[in-house]
Symmetry: C2
Subunit: 347 residues, 2 copies
Amino acid sequence: SSSMIEKERPESQRPLTFLRESDDELSSISDSNSTPSSSVRARFEKMIREAQDSVCLAIEAVDGGGKFKEDVWSRPGGGGGISRVLQDGDIWEKAGVNVSVVYGVMPPEAYRAAKPANSSDVKPGPVPFFAAGISSVLHPKNPFAPTLHFNYRYFETDAPSDAPGAPRQWWFGGGTDLTPAYIFEEDVKHFHSVQKSSCDKFDPSFYPRFKKWCDDYFYIKHRGERRGLGGIFFDDLNDYDQEMLLSFATECANSVVPAYIPIIERRKDTPFTDQHKAWQQLRRGRYVEFNLVYDRGTTFGLKTGGRIESILVSLPLSARWEYDHKPEEGSEEWKLLDACINPKEWV
Amino acid sequence: SSSMIEKERPESQRPLTFLRESDDELSSISDSNSTPSSSVRARFEKMIREAQDSVCLAIEAVDGGGKFKEDVWSRPGGGGGISRVLQDGDIWEKAGVNVSVVYGVMPPEAYRAAKPANSSDVKPGPVPFFAAGISSVLHPKNPFAPTLHFNYRYFETDAPSDAPGAPRQWWFGGGTDLTPAYIFEEDVKHFHSVQKSSCDKFDPSFYPRFKKWCDDYFYIKHRGERRGLGGIFFDDLNDYDQEMLLSFATECANSVVPAYIPIIERRKDTPFTDQHKAWQQLRRGRYVEFNLVYDRGTTFGLKTGGRIESILVSLPLSARWEYDHKPEEGSEEWKLLDACINPKEWV
């Protein structure tokens, strides 16, 4: 299946756009009243590249010591990406912020994994597609400073070459979620409040719905527990106005820094013991289990032969598995585990 | 799917057998000329329990400091297991040796994963089965001392209740493989020689065939590399005499100690640097990737709701993921990686 998608090659500099020329000419396929000046593809790419810049700037400013290393890559037939990784900084042990714009042909098997779950339009045979997204995982060193993950993506199937004006499938997906090893109510409430504010600007049903979706999605079935304390998550979203969803994804991406950085500022220098660190490492093990066994983006990437280092940058620098570890009832570790087993309402 | 198999419960002591009473009355379904005194199920259980004892004894003797902690569990409807884990010993950071004897009903989906790949006898609907096996992963602390994995298992589908004498599906599977972070030719040759000797006692085609099968099986497709330096592996083996295969599995299990312990004796006290340790941790990361994404036993266990701590005891105590790590060409780390990418003949 690695032959289905062309092999990436390194580039020495960032292109202005990863879009194919034909995409620049596309008018928006939106049915809204707005008259956007360029396609949703183009505006989504611009949005995720700006979000990458602003998140990386904020991370470097707080970290002080670490700098992002950038890898630009492209594919011969169009598309590519920018991977930025800060490793072994002062505050973060591993921080990855990637954007990618990918053209590909999905094997029917992968299409089943990626299509809207309730779509009745199941096409047999390979399906040409466009996918753009920003994906980031930020793992701090201090066990009291939480891991953050966010990911916003836009997906379109291509129109058949003999009918360029035919309707396409499109959908948005994404979310932002927080994975601490220890609970500070103040932090979790702040984080969820920012997510709720972003949602409420668009639809009052969004936060409760996407909060629950997040709790359901980041479920480690074989453990009976969630990876962390959630946030928001949505996928295959195409039953709202397309321009509205583009604005919503933009709002969510822009809220990453205000949702996360204040928490890091508060916790980054908290003194900790070897026991605190070991518990953080055990929770990182759960992070690895979720990502390799269940995460849709990761398993889709592994199947379709995406750039492996970009896909697996989400894995922590280090993780730990102890046999049959059970935190003492009532301990801080137990409280975190309990909240991963029984999701709470934080706002 | 966790409701498909009854929940395990802890037991305070080891039973003489995990077999259901009805299994004790079974005559062997072997068509060989031997007249075994008890069923293949019963003799396979006895073999794996003896192998568990002898491997654990050998490990404790070499380790000096660590002792195995034992957990016995059973299921209300019959079956159970013995998990033994030595954690944070002097020589091994995590050593797990588990036996299990399981009765269950496979969902059709799991049956597809477990049945012989070329079997034409695909039954729709739930399939009652018996599975017994020994499974072990031994992760030493010293980066020059290799990880060992072995697993031998016997599988039978039950006869339909209305036709107890009807033919059953049965098969053997297993293997022993070595995963060093650094290559010592002497070690790898010794290990493969022992595997070859075990195989050659039964069939001259076994070693070359099962050595290649091992190289093919432990392939991390998304990396284009193998987990380690192989050994032997076979699965769904039912096209030889059943008694012969029982003897072969016994021989393989008995050869674990002579294949592995001399290597540990030679390497356990070798001085090492932080760089050696970091490379070992990166290779442990690959171990995690293989086990969670590809390993048939692990993915089958996660799907069928087996005892999660027993299934995941194969994961190392700790592991590491660095972004885009590439060993320097010609270095010792590069040589190991090269041998994982291009499997070699060691004997």
